[in-house]
């Protein structure tokens, strides 16, 4: 298997701004790419995890006697076998490696087994006898917030309570609109299932873990704590990652796999099935949001007030950060001074929720965009006009008091989206696959109503609230070949090609070798929060620039020139004041120049008790317009077209940008009309791709995308992160289009057929 190719393409140089092709693209399309589930080791054992069938229960007794008797079983481990810290967590360490006395969600790990074969593992798990005493299930956010409800965890039932009060919170508008919005639980549903392979060091002194993750160093820290080892004894190597979308930010199988390997002294592989994956990682927070928008007669926003409740499920994960993002984005991309907002993230016996593409902003946007449409109706304005009248611009102040100093072309995003031609009116024959209902051939053209809806969003980039999520990279130049080293998790977003483009552009080389992505260099931070182009891109850029400086010094020394007058032009070093022109390959012959660069974003602050503070680094904006055809009688939807203009800063790779836009739109469409983990009193009802529905090619709309290319001076490459914005406002745009087609005040996403066609 071959995970990257370093073929030199000299015809057209794949520098920044070109649609350079990914080094892992050929391997992935030909099935040669090694995903983490493809790794094998000699003498390897398989591991598997025993999980709770109950959402809340006391563990009365555990009897593994029969499991130990099964030939091929090498070890069985429980909570008492965790040598270090018993719990882990990204923000608060509250999630047990194995449940000790109580299980708080369906699927919580209780034990792990290592054996000679996956089937032996399954049999061993089935042979472990556990007696549970079921406890009352806390599944309701309001009950969790109620202080009289008994806590289901020593840390209490509220992960975070935050308010924001700004300006004159008592001001009253001429026009007031009010709404309550519900968001269902979405799954990241990456295609490459969780998998890891751990190699114990001789004598158990350390461990190496090949794993699909989003953040090697954070994993390492949490694993080391649980193993009771120094972090340097734990080495992580990135296994091929088949998508992440936030679901690989938390620990899942990492600690279990390492423990099994250290216990048996043999390599151990753990990989989840699709069903186990639904229980093995956190999901997008479901939530309820109530907002009241005040505006003056001209449609200018005066105040936003209301509350937001997000259900974090049984353990903390990133709930407190998701809640911060949620409440600080309830404002939307609109200028407004006055607010009174309150938000809670609750602990319940529902599945744990944490990071997913959009991170709290998806929920906020669904509510504020529903409100903007209500405002438009109340004021007699079009959805476009009401948004243009309030569009945020650079220099505006947020409810938190933070001034938006990013490029903020909100009005331009809206106008350019509005200018994209609408699709043709439906001209389908009866039974067309293009009609709502698709291959089920339920609808005739006479049953269809078309609707148009809008969504516009603001999304913070990078981590917030004082977190220093720096990124490190190293560049080595030798004989015309650049080698890059970083710990940036490539999860499918394409950083591997961006890094090569940066090095080609800065150094004038064509061949850029990518070193292994592992913990043998400083942290790159997480591949999340739309941050790696900015952060790791900044680190690679910085390292390459340092190398180039030293190369210029060498050349200047040889030719007796001032290094400041040298520049890279194509693949040559040129004297900007004279005739000298030397190919980089020649100038670097026999040299080995190596530089490491640590990129940091500017510091941020925590919010005070009134929600004031410069808590975010920077922002990106996007507009979406959805056109849908709805069979109003059957409640079936076909999303016909999504038009979008996205604020992206400088475009570095048009092809990967389009990939992010189209993929994000598909994911947002999923949340709008089909993707939901159905949970009934803590019990997950649909943990499979048979019943958790992802959009198919027939559900995917035509996407017409326009990048709004305005150089972002705050960003090292002038480029904003582009990963999250595509999936945020597309969901409210589609739901608004369904409202437009049906005349129904739909307040929940995903929209189910019965929400469209049955009496409420």
């Amino acid at each position: 298997m071959k995970n990257s190719s370093t073929t030199t393409r000299s015809q057209s140089r794949e520098v920044l701004g070109t649609s350079a092709l990914r080094p892992d693209g050929v391997a992935k399309t030909q099935g040669d790419f090694a995903f983490s589930s493809d790794f094998q080791a000699e003498n390897m054992l398989w591991g598997a995890t025993l999980r709770s069938p109950h959402p809340h229960a006391r563990i009365v007794s555990i009897d593994p006697t029969d499991a130990w008797r099964i030939p091929g079983v090498e070890t069985i481990i429980f909570a008492d076998d965790v040598p270090g810290q018993a719990t882990y967590g990204l923000i608060a360490s509250d999630q047990p490696v194995f449940a000790q006395n109580v299980v708080r969600y369906m699927g919580e790990p209780i034990a792990a087994v290592a054996a000679d074969h996956p089937e032996t593992c399954r049999r061993a798990l089935a042979a472990i006898k556990i007696v549970y005493e079921e406890l009352p299930v806390l599944f309701d956010m309001d009950l969790a917030i109620d202080p009289s409800t008994p806590p289901i965890h020593p840390d209490g039932n509220v992960f975070r309570h935050q308010r924001i009060i700004s300006g004159d919170p008592d001001i009253v508008g001429d026009v007031i609109v009010e709404g309550t919005y519900d968001i269902g639980m979405q799954d990241q549903a990456f295609l490459g299932l969780e998998a890891a392979l751990a190699y114990p060091d001789p004598g158990g002194a350390g461990v190496e873990l090949v794993v699909a993750t989003q953040w090697l160093h954070e994993d390492r820290k949490q694993i080391a704590d649980c193993l009771g080892m120094a972090p340097e004894k734990v080495r992580l190597v990135l296994g091929g990652v088949g998508g992440a979308f936030g679901a690989r930010e938390d620990i899942s199988l990492q600690v279990h796999t390492c423990l099994l390997a250290l216990r048996t002294g043999r390599p151990v592989k753990v990989q989840y099935s699709r069903e186990e994956s639904f229980f093995g990682h956190v999901h997008r927070h479901p939530g309820r949001i109530h907002l009241r928008h005040h505006a003056d007669r001209n449609g200018k926003l005066l105040k936003v007030e209301g509350w937001m409740k997000l259900d974090g499920g049984a353990y903390a994960s990133t709930s407190s950060a998701v809640l911060l993002n949620g409440i600080t984005h309830l404002q939307g991309p609109y200028a407004c001074d006055n607010s009174r907002l309150e938000a809670w993230a609750t602990r319940t016996n529902n599945p744990p929720c944490g990071a997913m593409r959009g991170f709290g902003v998806v929920q906020a946007c669904f509510a504020h965009e529903g409100q903007m449409d209500k405002l438009a109706v109340a004021l007699g304005l079009s959805p476009v006009e009401v948004r243009l009248r309030n569009a945020m611009k650079t220099g505006d102040k947020l409810f938190t008091g933070q001034v938006v100093d990013s490029v903020a072309p909100v009005a331009r995003c809206i106008r350019e989206t509005d200018a994209i031609p609408l699709p043709a009116e439906p001209a389908y024959g009866t039974g067309s696959l293009e009609l709502p209902g698709g291959s089920g051939r339920t609808s005739d053209p006479s049953h269809i109503r078309r609707g148009i809806g809008w969504g516009v969003s603001i999304k913070n980039l990078m981590y917030s609230e004082g977190f220093d999520d720096s990124a490190e990279a190293r560049c080595t130049l030798a004989d015309g070949v650049a080698t890059l080293k970083f710990a940036t998790a490539e999860v499918g977003q394409g950083f591997v090609v961006l890094a090569q483009q940066i090095a080609r552009t800065i150094l004038g080389v064509d061949t850029v070798v990518l070193d292994a992505i592992d913990t043998q260099i400083g942290s790159a931070g997480s591949t999340s929060a739309s941050r790696q182009t900015w952060m790791s891109g900044g680190a690679v850029d910085g390292a390459c620039r340092l190398v180039r400086e030293r190369l210029f010094e060498q050349v200047a020394h040889v030719h007796n020139l001032n290094p400041l007058q040298l520049a890279v032009e194509g693949t040559d070093i040129v004297d900007t004041l004279g005739p000298l022109r030397v190919p980089v390959s020649e100038a670097s012959k026999g040299l080995r120049i190596e530089e490491t660069f640590l990129h940091r974003h500017r510091p941020t602050e925590e919010l005070d008790e009134n929600g004031q503070g410069n808590c975010h680094v920077a922002f990106a904006f996007v507009a979406h317009r959805a056109v849908v055809d709805v069979d109003t009688e059957l409640g079936l939807v076909k999303v016909v077209q999504i038009a979008t203009a996205q604020d992206v800063g400088q475009v570095l790779n048009p092809l990967t940008l389009l990939g992010q836009i189209e993929g994000g739109i598909a994911q947002g469409l999923g949340l709008a009309v089909m993707e939901e983990i159905v949970v009934d009193r803590g019990v997950v009802k649909n943990p499979s791709f048979t019943d958790y529905l992802l959009p198919t090619a027939l559900d995917a709309p035509d996407v017409v995308a326009i990048p709004i290319e305005e150089y972002e001076p705050l960003a090292p490459l002038g480029a904003k992160g582009v990963g999250e914005p595509p999936c945020i406002s597309v969901t409210p745009a589609i739901v608004a289009a369904i409202r437009n087609a049906t005349g129904r005040d739909i307040t929940r996403t995903p929209v189910r057929p019965q929400d469209i066609c049955l009496p409420t």
Partner: protein, 280 residues
């Protein structure tokens, strides 16, 4: 696990007699899911992919016979689709192209899920399921074949060999609601068959009861309203009342895929639409 790969029906029947309870496998689109979910651990598997006679169909003016191993892909177009448009429509709703290349009518019958897409068509067409055992061939009308959720009247040494269908003269169609535009399990489905020969309109419902439901009372009512030996009248009032009566015979439940109310509503809507389509 023992796997047998017979090449003739006789071999397959003999193997089944020697291995009662063996798992019969053709496309594997249901069985492998069950195996992957650890719900099924077959001890003996009889693979039927090499039994070529099971993968054949014959069409005569008197009878259409479809081998149990004919994949959905071959029902979507060609002579079978011309002879049985409702079966073609149902076949097109099954899974993805890959699934339709593998999955078979025999598998649908063997699993007997109320959401099986081929089954309402067989019910509406009054198909006969031909079961082969060492005792010979037993023809079982579909309504007697499916007896419950994932239960049928096949006994353990019988092989589902084929289905027999008497050709009909008139409109026939299948429509299915799912919460995705392709590759989705049925939330509710309707097959409507109009046959001038027998002067009948037959309707069968999928995913709204423990078995496929034939709306016989509604069919009987319709027979008092229209002359089915000729073209059906494009009478909206008849269509609406017929649909209401058909929906009343559904026995849907609430589950994670949908609600009973929506399913009944969908049955009513699809029936009305199919009736009106049949009159065009």
């Amino acid at each position: 696990m023992s796997v047998y790969m017979p090449t003739t029906v006789d071999q397959a029947v003999a193997l089944l007699a020697q291995n009662p309870g063996a798992c019969l496998l053709t496309g594997g689109t249901d069985t492998m899911v069950e195996v992957n979910f650890n719900h099924l651990k077959p001890g003996t598997v009889i693979g039927l992919r090499l039994v070529s006679s099971l993968r054949e169909y014959t069409i005569t003016p008197q009878l259409i016979q479809i081998g149990a191993g004919v994949p959905y892909a071959r029902m979507e177009t060609g002579p079978l689709a011309e002879a049985l448009p409702a079966l073609a429509a149902a076949a097109r709703t099954v899974g993805s192209p890959q699934i339709r290349a593998a999955g078979t009518l025999g598998g649908n019958l063997g699993t007997c899920s109320p959401a099986g897409d081929g089954l309402p068509v067989l019910a509406a067409l009054d198909a006969v399921v031909n079961l082969r055992s060492p005792r010979g061939i037993r023809g079982v009308p579909f309504q007697d074949f499916m007896v419950g959720v994932k239960r049928n009247s096949r006994v353990s040494d019988e092989l589902i060999e084929s289905v027999s269908i008497a050709p009909t003269s008139g409109y026939q169609d299948y429509a299915k609601v799912g919460v995705r535009n392709a590759m989705v399990i049925s939330v509710a489905s309707v097959c409507l068959v109009h046959d001038r020969h027998t002067a009948s309109v037959r309707v069968a419902l999928g995913a709204v009861g423990p078995t496929i439901i034939r709306a016989r009372e509604a069919e009987a009512w319709l027979a008092t309203q229209v002359d089915a030996s000729t073209s059906l009248p494009p009478d909206e009032a008849v269509a609406i009342e017929f649909a209401r009566r058909v929906a009343a015979e559904a026995r849907p439940i609430d589950d994670h895929r949908s609600t009973a109310d929506y399913r009944r509503h969908a049955i009513q809507t699809l029936t009305r639409r199919l009736y009106l389509r049949s009159t065009k």
